[in-house]
């Protein structure tokens, strides 16, 4: 698959469980929480598939002082936004691509430092989410908003499909969540509710 979504940033640190990248300034829709991304690993033999779970911007004393200044010119604000304090994006590894095959397990190697991080195209998202094994990888993650991440990822995966297929995909994903969260019905209810809210196409009649 040669489709490349937009470049998001560059990897700065990584591990088998995920990777962190940096970029200058976020665009309106890039990156977003729950978006799928990929970064090259194993000297190009594979691409790690990640799910963005955190987007953060550091500050420093100068930025804090400017934030509380009484009279700040628009140009000072613009300068503070453009200062080279990198936007950090953190991604959870949810699989990898080797050749034409997506595997939904932890990758054999993380991406290398300074590897480019690309957003997955709609076609790639659809292809990756044909199987739903990545849901268990998300649910087993810690120190991140797991349930919100899962809902955002499944919604994105649904939107990558045609209108006709979205409902059936979400039903199948819901069943997989029910299987994995059978012992935590409260949590399952929360996930299903958030998955279906604000979109009448996905509510059941019965």
């Amino acid at each position: 698959m040669d489709d490349f979504g937009p470049l998001i940033g560059l990897v700065t640190r990584c591990s088998s469980r995920g990777f962190v990248g940096a970029m200058r300034l976020p665009e309106t829709d890039l990156p977003v929480f729950g978006a799928f991304c990929k970064a090259e690993a194993q000297r190009g033999h594979s691409n790690v598939i990640g799910l963005i779970y955190d987007i953060s911007i550091e500050d420093d004393e100068f930025a804090r002082q400017m934030a509380i200044a009484e009279q700040l010119e628009p140009e000072n604000i613009a300068d503070q936004q453009a200062r080279l304090l990198p936007v950090e994006i953190s991604a959870l590894s949810v699989g990898y691509l080797r050749g034409d095959q997506y595997l939904q397990t932890l990758p054999p190697q993380p991406p290398i430092s300074m590897a480019s991080i690309y957003s997955l195209s709609m076609e790639e998202v659809q292809a990756f989410t044909t199987k739903l094994d990545f849901i268990s990888l998300i649910l087993s993650a810690s120190q991140m908003p797991v349930d919100d991440l899962l809902v955002a990822a499944l919604r994105q995966a649904a939107q990558a499909r045609s209108t006709d297929e979205q409902r059936s995909f979400l039903l199948e994903a819901g069943r997989e969540c029910a299987r994995l969260l059978a012992r935590d019905l409260t949590r399952l209810e929360g996930v299903i509710f958030r998955l279906t809210e604000r979109d009448d196409r996905f509510t059941t009649d019965s």
Binding site: Q65, E70, L72, E73, P74, E75, N76, A78, D79, Q81
Partner: protein, 386 residues
């Protein structure tokens, strides 16, 4: 830890007691000096200049201009559109203990167009000097830190001139975090080294370019220790060439004179006859400015062409106030220029590592001096973990 705090503590306590006494003494001196300032402000300026002439060129201090010396000037209207350029430099000095001899000058600069809403443009220009001719002065000695400082000053001014010509569009205020007297204190037994001479010429050419571009150039000095005006007061009142108020600075006087956002009268800097000709050819003027933030009184140095143009002087006054309003009294552009210029210890170590690596690729194995190596032995304690 090698600092014996038990020995230091009583000295710190004495410092504290002394500081309180000094504040009281300074308050008394300040009141007295203000009175003297008002007195000499009444004097005929020509009489004052005659007094200065009678020092036969042995005196440094301030001389009055057409503005009354104790007068304060309110802020002019803020400019709706204002271009500010600021530059600052930092350096890595030559270190004979490092694996390779070099020095680096890094110039950071910024262009802010107030009133446009656009983000400023920022620049950073590092330059490594490593050729033998660049590393030695006329006597074959390793180039000193003092000369590298002046090379840096010349590059800061050069960068301002470049920006002013590149981004034409008046009005332009150009700021340096420094005085404008480049040669201040740097001479080797009255001999101007070739390196320093070249730097000075570059500095002067850059100032000429700024003058031709009609730029309001200003040097911003925070916590100035100058006493040029106090020297004039001492000369005028008691015929004494030196500041009669030890420990008191011009800044202390203006702290008690200037309302917020007001500037002082313009003064001319008078130099002794044995100052370098190049320095005496370029007349420098100065004001003091209450930036409006607490007791922040800055000394602002300007060249003659700025003083001769009231619009440029107003630009200096209003522009610096604009720059200082969000930052408690220090120009925003100079904060950013410094940030763009500064070379951290970590970056310096990374640079040394790259140099060593590159030389190794060319078959050269470099080593720091044994002194530097032993310092590394002492620098990183580790704790035994069980």
């Amino acid at each position: 830890m090698s600092l014996d705090l038990l020995q230091v503590l009583p000295q710190v306590q004495e410092l504290g007691r002394d500081a309180v006494l000094r504040v009281k003494t300074k308050a008394d001196m300040t009141r007295d000096s203000l009175q003297v300032l008002h007195e000499i402000a009444e004097m005929d300026p020509h009489h004052l200049l005659d007094t200065v002439e009678r020092t036969a060129g042995q005196w440094r201090g301030a001389t009055p201009t057409t503005e009354r010396m104790d007068e304060t000037f309110p802020p002019p209207p803020m400019q709706p559109q204002l271009n500010v350029i600021g530059s600052d430099g930092s350096q890595i000095y030559v270190d004979r203990h490092s694996p390779f001899l070099y020095f680096l000058i890094n110039i950071g600069s910024i262009w802010i167009r107030y009133g446009s809403g656009s983000p400023p443009q920022t620049f950073s220009h590092p330059h490594i000097f490593h050729h033998e001719l660049q590393l030695r002065d006329d006597r074959g000695q390793l180039i000193s830190a003092a000369i590298i400082d002046k090379l840096r000053d010349a590059e800061e001014m050069h960068e301002l001139a470049n920006l002013a010509e590149r981004f034409s569009g008046k009005p332009i205020l150009a700021l340096l975090d420094n005085n404008l007297q480049m040669h201040n204190g740097v001479f080797l037994r009255n001999h101007v080294s070739t390196l320093l001479g070249n730097a000075f010429e570059r500095y002067q050419r850059s100032m000429d370019r700024l003058r031709k571009a009609g730029v309001a150039l200003a040097g911003f000095i925070d916590r100035s220790q100058s006493s040029d005006l106090l020297s004039l007061m001492s000369l005028a009142k008691w015929n004494e060439g030196d500041n009669r108020y030890p420990g008191l600075t011009d800044r202390d006087v203006f702290l008690n004179l200037l309302p917020p956002r007001h500037r002082s009268a313009i003064f001319q800097l008078h130099l002794p006859i044995n100052a370098p000709q190049q320095q005496r050819d370029r007349t420098i003027y100065f004001i003091y400015l209450n930036t409006g933030s607490g007791d922040q009184i800055a000394r602002i140095e300007v060249p003659e062409w700025v003083v001769m143009d009231p619009a440029l002087m107003e630009l200096v006054h209003a522009g610096i106030l604009t720059e200082c309003q969000a930052t408690n009294g220090f120009p925003y552009s100079l904060i950013r220029a410094h940030e763009l210029a500064v070379v951290t210890d970590r970056e310096r170590q990374a640079l040394d590592h790259w140099i060593t690596t590159i030389c190794l690729q060319h078959g050269l194995q470099l080593q720091p001096s044994q002194k530097a190596t032993t310092k590394r032995w002492l620098s990183r304690p580790r704790h035994h973990g069980l």
